[in-house]
Subunit: 292 residues, 2 copies
């Protein structure tokens, strides 16, 4: 079975569009997402374009700020401060990576945690890590992974979940979310000995390591559920653009062994955007509650 | 081999005492730890007494505040705010648990993160979780565990570390520290299926689950290193006080299988206090750097 993030995301976007229309009709509030893009990275431009397109489709206002690659740190910070103060902006997304001369941490820490719809603020990650605490926003990709598992009817309770990769934006938060959902979680990574064996022990395997098709059929336990977070370019002369996108999972081989696997593209990617829209909507709703 | 936290802590305390004397001689600064104790819990009183005794031994000033069990939330918060503003206080320890009518989270979140020597603030836990971030302070017990592993010469790189327990103050932070130290980390807990098998797969086993002598000899891989964080009372009529303290590990049985195990008492307990002293000293040093 393929877990189509694309289909789940489509349904979620439709629901969010209805809810946004309702919020506007009843309370006159349009959720607003500010996107900040510094420099000319083509992939970043493409990501921001997709996010803005999703806003448009859902009736979420999109405030886009494009700054030249040599923008000084102070100017980026000034923009973030202005967006923090702007009541029409409910979410602020600073597209990463930022140019080398910018201190990324200082920019991200400046985003008000009530508008940190990416969920990357250390305070937010701390609350996500801790039992009995609720983060303002769940980071989009980890949240998308959890929704996909839920939609696929996967029982996590007491099961072995293996997270391959320990990045701040995927591996670490998804491991924490799986732990709170009562899975037994193993975080594996580049230094892990007998990596194949560790993966083969997983009832649920989350691949977020950034290596093209690293997870082969014989890395997966029969009947396991595999979520592929990777997005890797591999050369492909048959494509006009000269490459194709593949995940961290050898999908065809794994599909024959696993009970379910998410494809790339059409898996986690669309879910990440849907969760960003969801966080922006949630933030707009919360701003209403604060006013009341 | 027994890993004597008591001996390691003794050496660390001696080193810290020398450093504190040096800080006072050169800069006229005495590190200061404020302890806040609300109510009459005997165990809490005993813990705070040990911490204050360690301060005294090391030449760290101890400012103790004892409040009645029915102290209103506002008064506890007022005290914390005053301690935040007091330049002679470098560390603030609010002894847990607080009485039921007090919102523990709100009190803990109020402690300035530059004085949060327990390391429990969500911002601090977030920075501990994230790659490329440095928390102000490492939480005392998890830090103590890491120092014990280091002192015992344990190689963590790529090894299977299993953390039994997922508490905010031990399990979660120690799992994150082991992950940053390049271990492959599994967090197991009450819901874990085949718990014995998971534990038996560990090269390094951290027991922090709060069940007396739960980890038996046949739960441990031959040659593994076992750190016992548990402190449990079991009835014992042969003792004057009617109980004895045991860990989460059946020490005698495990010692015969493991290459090293930490005892209870005399293991993690003394390390926790030494790390609290270390954090208080570090905070005093940092206050000096801020003045310069």
């Amino acid at each position: 079975m393929l877990i189509s993030g694309k289909d789940i995301a489509k349904r979620l976007r439709a629901e969010l569009g209805d809810k946004a229309a309702d919020l506007k009709a009843k309370h006159g509030i349009t959720p607003g997402l500010a996107t900040v893009l510094v420099g000319n990275d083509p992939a970043s431009h493409s990501y921001v374009r997709m996010k803005r397109k999703a806003c448009e489709e859902l009736g979420i206002a999109s405030f886009h700020h494009e700054l030249p690659a040599d923008t000084p740190q102070a100017d980026v910070e000034k923009l973030v401060s202005e967006l923090n103060a702007d009541a029409t902006v409910h979410g602020i997304l600073v597209q990463l990576p930022l140019p080398d001369h910018i201190n990324e941490k200082e920019v991200l820490d400046l985003i008000s945690i009530s508008k940190d719809v990416d969920g990357f603020h250390p305070m937010n990650i701390g609350m996500l890590a801790m039992k009995g605490r609720e983060p303002h926003f769940l980071p989009c990709t980890p949240h998308g992974v959890m929704v996909m598992l839920h939609e696929a009817g996967v029982d996590l309770n007491g099961k072995n979940a293996v997270v391959l990769g320990r990045s701040n934006i995927v591996g670490i938060p998804v491991a924490l979310l799986l732990m709170h959902a009562n899975a037994t979680v193993t975080i594996a990574h580049s230094r892990t000995q007998n990596l194949q064996e560790v993966c083969k022990n997983a009832d649920i395997l989350i691949a977020a390591v950034g290596r093209a098709e690293m997870v082969k059929g014989d890395w997966v336990k029969p009947g396991a559920v595999v979520i592929d977070v990777g997005v890797n370019r591999v050369d492909d002369d048959t494509r006009e653009r000269g490459y194709r996108l593949v995940g961290d999972v050898d999908t065809d081989a794994v599909e024959a062994v696993a009970s379910a696997v998410s494809p790339v593209p059409g898996g986690v990617g669309p879910m990440t955007i849907a969760m960003l829209m969801s966080n922006t909507f949630t933030s707009a709703e919360a701003s209403l509650a604060q006013k009341a």
